[in-house]
Subunit: 357 residues, 3 copies
């Protein structure tokens, strides 16, 4: 890899200071800068002591403030936007041998585009179709009749069940489990959860539990990212759906029939229960929970560990369990701190009244 | 697959209206009904507009109320119970080639029943026994001396450690991890968690951490379902046990020595810590936590995200963190909303008293 | 396996009572003791009825109190410390065939030490190095240029991404996913989470989401344990790091750039967000969450389901969401219980004042 500071500055649309001929070999935090070939990321003046200590020679810096003492600089407007481009240039994609590895099993009844990479010990089921440039690292299990678009990247251990449809440029990380049957059961007689909801009382039931099979599938749009060990369950009848551009972190649960819009961000360990509908550009933070059959409106923001309990209109901003508007949740927390003081004031009032009586 | 409306009506014990000769090809939500061969699920009158718009021709409907305008109907008493039977008939089981796939490795010292299906890239360890009709989709890893009953279905990527015993008709979903060693350690000197429990104060300790190996195993009963990426740890000495008929969702943690009764329902992301004992027919909702060495009585219902902190008697119905009876938890939440108002009333009282003084 | 009671007593540094020649075959809970060859673990007098009922012949017991009626005993000072040694002696390690299994794919450009065991259907990428005595059970996926030390044990289905460095005696449990790319994105224009943090209001944005690739890696120290289905993400630029001796349970999320010190204990389902720094000997209990870019000081103890919201100094002991000092969290809970009573007292005061007016 050979890239000069001048070329990078023009790629990033940034302003160049210093020597455009320096070859940049790595992008680093200032504390790891070793020489002029290391492009240090300087986001704020707070790293100035590190810059000095490491004698940083080359850096990408914001338009302001100035961080003094760096001879070679690229000045950019939004450093994290530029970082995205930088790390596209300096990407280190997983090593996947070209073509179909001899230890992979590709069903003869599948259709594999010419330049697909299927790594060691992958399985491609009958009727599957895999689009141009898609890469499967190793040990990936693809079911029957699965359709995967072009330019996708599936890491080791990913399991995709039969009939799933995946768009283009989708990234699925290690050991994600796509299209398992939904967790859907029905008791022959009303079960305890059903009874308690109606009566408020727990009644033992000896009812047999019937399984409701999932005959539907999962559809994943373009440019979606699915995290490691994340589970997306198959729909009961039709499709569990992840909209274009939505990014899902590790260890997320997306249950059967869930509909997720476009460009959502769902952070690690969030759980979305069956048949919930999530709008577009919704952010669900880590460890939050969305109950079944609820709707979360566009552009909503759900804080970490929030426990949503009902429908949320567009642009909701909620936290806490049960989740409520963020402001209200914070106020409640502060109100609790007042109780002790209120108790004292009541005691004083009582004493004053007693004296007056 | 060819099934007529008349035959389905008799299978479901339902009342038939319309043409019994219609061949049913799919079970659909009314919004996806395309022609008379699609059996639409109509649970309530609320879908009447969709029924009209899609000109639904054929439907399964409840005994009441009538949903007008559907010429062919099966009327049933409990639609979701009938759905379970319908989706048994219309099931789409995973595609698994019959017999032992040439890319699978089956240890010669194992016993595989005649009609077992072992898909591509599975491994069966020495001494393992797999019962009649059991299917392993692909990439399934079965350890040494594992015993699996008949009619089981293990999806891709499932890992089952040595010596586990699994009953009949068990379903284990993709990338579940059964029988890893328990998370059990002991510091040579009392560790910080041990000290703080006694003294309430955190004391740094430099003690070495010893590992307590797990020499026990996991025993899973008949008709159990284990979710994707769910972990069930091996017992320290004896058996971690999942009772007959218990259903476990995705991403659930079941620690070493846990004993779970029959017909429980454990929803996604719930965690059950070491040596906890769960009764029969217990429902543990999503993201709830049960601490180590606690007991949860029969028929208890634990709400989502609840943090249980002690033993629960039979028929408990708890929510919140720390978990308390559901009613009390809701009252506490409402009481918090009163604080602001109480503060105002105290202020008024103080003003009145000041005036009187 | 043949071990006498006398030999075990000397191994454990315990006091022997009874017959030193008894051959011990199993370590059991008293309720599973069947004969004198079963060494029952007796921690306290509370199991005396079981000891009597099962006529326990042989036991490991604490120095005090005496549990009467057991003819053969090893008396030890800290029974759980002795248990660790006992279960080292009676360990039942996973069955892994010696050498490289014929169904494994080991890249010719890798370096495998002489006595490494690589089980069925494992993949070792180009440039990988695996140290002496390390065992990979089956279906383990090791990326390119990964370095694994000596004496490690990787269970089935573990995925390790390219360039990861793993120390000695590390245990990684089934289906763990090491070194996936971090969950790191940037909107071209300020995104909704960014705007709401500044303005408190949710503003819809149509901004394109850019991916920030991870070019860094993961470094795992010596004697670390990583749980089943646990995810440790790759650093953006440098290294996500797990210190020597740290133990991580199942289903834990450790995001990109996280730095974890030595001898920490991180319990199941805990989540540590991007760029957080965790000190030494920190205990993070189950289902707790640590936000991004925060610091948790040495020897801190974070209770189950806690939602940390800021930096924590050394020796913090916190619980609740938002997490606060444990004592304060408990007080808040108790204060809430007072509200109803305070309301009544205010009503009485009001009535008294009304009467006086």
């Amino acid at each position: 890899m050979s890239t000069t500071l001048g070329w990078l500055a023009s790629e990033l649309g940034g302003e160049l200071l210093g020597n455009p001929e320096i070859e940049i070999r790595r992008v680093v935090h200032p504390s790891h800068a070793e020489n002029e070939h290391d492009l240090a990321l300087v986001y704020s003046a707070s790293v100035a002591p590190i810059v000095k200590e490491r004698a940083v020679q080359t850096a990408m810096v914001p338009l302001s403030p100035d961080v003094p003492g760096i001879p070679n600089q690229i000045k950019v407007q939004r450093p994290r936007v530029s970082l995205a481009r930088l790390l596209e240039i300096f990407a280190r994609p997983p090593v996947v041998p070209t073509g179909i590895h001899p230890t992979a099993f590709v069903d003869p009844a599948s259709e594999i585009a010419a330049d697909v990479s299927i790594g060691p010990l992958c399985r491609i089921g009958p009727g599957a179709k895999i689009g141009a440039g898609t890469r499967l690292v190793s040990g990936v299990q693809i079911g029957a009749e699965v359709e995967i678009g072009s330019g996708c990247l599936l890491f080791s251990g990913v399991c995709v069940g039969d009939r799933v449809r995946i768009g283009n440029r989708v990234i699925i990380k290690a050991n994600a489990a796509i299209a398992n049957d939904g967790f859907s059961f029905q008791t022959v007689e009303p079960g305890s959860a059903e009874v308690v909801r109606k009566t408020g009382k727990v009644q033992p039931t000896e009812s047999r539990i019937l399984r409701i099979n999932s005959v539907g599938t999962v559809v994943i749009g373009d440019d979606v990212e699915v995290g490691a060990c994340t589970c997306i369950d198959r729909a009961t009848l039709h499709e569990t759906r992840i909209g274009n551009g939505t990014k899902i972190d590790n260890l997320v649960q997306i249950a059967h029939n869930v509909q997720i819009g476009e460009n959502c961000v769902i952070v690690a360990m969030a759980g979305i229960a069956g048949s919930a509908t999530i709008g577009n550009r919704v952010v669900i933070a880590a460890q939050a929970g969305i109950p079944d059959h609820t709707t979360v409106g566009d552009d909503s923001l759900i804080m970490p560990q929030a426990g949503v309990t009902g429908h949320l209109p567009a642009r909701s901003y909620v936290g806490g369990t049960p989740a409520m508007p963020r402001k209200q949740a914070l106020q409640d927390l502060m109100q609790v701190k007042r109780i002790k003081g209120l108790g004292k004031r009541i005691k004083e009032l009582e004493a004053r009244l007693d004296q007056m009586a």
